[in-house]
């Protein structure tokens, strides 16, 4: 079965006289499960998406107008802050963690490395109000938008009313983020039988990955969305002058059994989202594989998968590691990274 697959975006033929206005529509990639996000509550529309995109790239959301969501979430790096282990926010303060990609969020249940936010619509409040990110009050953001020459009109187009409420603001931001769908990697085209084949090494890597990694990095999203300790024991460090240790999921549940557990990340576009892990402490995929082979640290909450028969880590040869990396690179989705519809340069 052959068919052309668009990244959830249909470019409908518009009249020839006018410049083509892409129509935005959420579509579920055929190899993905059903989204977790309730789209009937906030259907993605062209105007809602456009508003959300403008907000996402607008530094009006920060106290001093210097930082936008897009400052830390850059499209060409799958919406991460490329090259930074910890993200840089307002006044060049550091964040606690490495910025994860904004990608396939409709299929996520909880957000942040520790899952502290359980609804995408609630998410934007966190970076806006965090003192080391945008350091602005949400009430103030809404007031700035109400006085803005363009926003009231854009809300009118998106929601049928120019009245700017928290609910509509958050929903518009969600609409943009929901459309950041990555499902057109080489791997996807192979899986969907779209005439693409994997090399022998890539295929061998895929098979190894299924055996060694997919118990956690599961399914088409490459995560089972659970919280686990993969043996990266965090160290104490000074964050903006304050002695800190990142206890992970325990921060949210206050349950000591959750200490040092972090959300299993998706591995889509992993080739270009370095550095890796919640604290960005591993710089390359080779280092990640070395970690699983020999770097896993024991701890009472270490995932049992990484300590089988009393042996720490995952059994891997150097050749197997290379093949797994070859496979991981097939998850890079150039169409997503260059999708003009998501691009800041293309408002």
């Amino acid at each position: 079965m052959k068919y052309i697959f668009y990244v959830g975006i249909l470019i409908l033929g518009a009249c020839k006289q006018q410049p083509q206005e892409p129509q935005i529509q959420f579509q579920n990639p055929s190899n993905f499960p059903e989204p977790h996000y309730n789209l009937s509550r906030n259907p993605v529309t062209t105007e809602g998406f456009k508003l959300g995109k403008m907000l996402f790239f607008d530094s009006i959301l920060s106290r001093d107008g210097t930082i936008s969501c897009g400052s830390c979430h850059i499209q060409s790096s799958a919406f991460t802050q490329h090259g930074h282990d910890l993200s840089h926010g307002i006044d060049d303060q550091l964040t606690l963690r490495n910025a994860p990609p904004i990608m396939n969020l409709a299929w996520q249940k909880e957000f942040f490395w520790d899952g502290g936010v359980f609804d995408l619509d609630l998410f934007a409040l966190a970076p806006i109000e965090a003192h080391n990110e945008m350091d602005e009050s949400i009430a103030n953001v809404l007031n700035k938008l109400r006085k803005h020459p363009k926003y009231p009109q854009m809300f009118e187009r998106a929601f049928g009313t120019s009245e700017i409420t928290l609910d509509r603001f958050l929903k518009a931001l969600s609409q943009f983020q929901l459309m950041a769908i990555s499902a057109n990697s080489k791997y996807d085209k192979y899986i969907r039988n779209e005439g693409v084949t994997l090399t022998t090494d890539e295929l061998a890597g895929l098979e190894l990955f299924k055996v060694k990694c997919s118990s956690c990095h599961q399914g088409e999203l490459f995560t089972d969305l659970s919280y686990r300790n993969n043996g990266m024991i965090p160290q104490r460090f000074k964050l903006n002058g304050i002695d800190t240790i990142d206890t992970g999921r325990e921060r949210i549940t206050l349950n000591p059994n959750d200490q040092f557990k972090f959300k299993v990340p998706s591995l889509r576009n992993v080739e270009i989202t370095r550095p890796y892990m919640h604290n960005g402490s591993l710089r390359t995929l080779e280092q990640v594989l070395d970690h699983y082979q020999t770097g896993v640290k024991d701890h009472p909450t270490l995932d049992p998968v990484l300590k089988q028969n009393g042996k720490l880590g995952i059994d891997l040869t150097n050749d197997e590691k290379k093949k797994i990396i070859e496979f991981l690179k097939t998850l890079t989705d150039e169409e997503f990274l260059k999708n003009p519809i998501l691009s800041e340069e293309n408002p």
Binding site: E110, G116, F118, A126, A130, L166, D167, R249
Partner: protein, 261 residues
Amino acid sequence: MLAIIASTIVISCKKNDTEPAPNPNLTGSLEVEFENFVGTQKFAFGTTYTNPNTNETFTPSMLRYFITNIELKASNGTIFTVPQNDSYFLIDQEKPESLKFTLNSIPEGDYNEISFTIGVDSLRNTKPVGERTGNLDISGTAQGMYWSWNSGYIFVKFEGSSPQSTAVDQKYRYHIGGFGGYSSKTINCVRKKTLSFGKDVAKVRTNAAPTVHLITDVMKLFNGSTQLKIADNNTVMFSPFGINIANNYVDMFSYDHVHND
């Protein structure tokens, strides 16, 4: 002469008629008023109070708490539950108008008990943003009463300064919340309080809106089943110790009096 007697009788009959048995098919209003105290003294920002149990002194600068999910019980046992959407109030010492609120559409009755929740129930805490308007609007009334990094309302916020605080700025900060967790269980600081009016009744009638006067004694936030010492805990936010404070704050509330007019 006879006419006068007759009219007197009519008038006295009318007098009795002004207090007929409550008609549950009619509705009226009730006002609830909170007055904040520290021990026996009225609560005021900038005033320094001494805790007799610990000899610690403190000067409050912020006091806010959510009173929600209100129920009224009549002397005949009937319970009236305020419709959920209209049952969320934020008492904020900084905003005098917030210390009083009116409950409407209450069936006529002689009410002698009030119950309420301190905090925001888990159901509402997990509702879509669009269903958290009014006093729950995080960009409005409820600003500052929400943890955005750990989605959930802060139920009680009490801050001030104290020479006993070892914090660099000598402040104490109690931000207590936690509704039990979304996908994993965690602390639950939602508390329910029932206050009886004793022999008093609040007579809710179509044409009479009584006021129930309640007292909140924040000294009890320190002095309860757990003795909270500023010297030991100057900052309590989302942590297991919050439960101890919740167990204390549930006893801050007492019934004082009712005005029927």
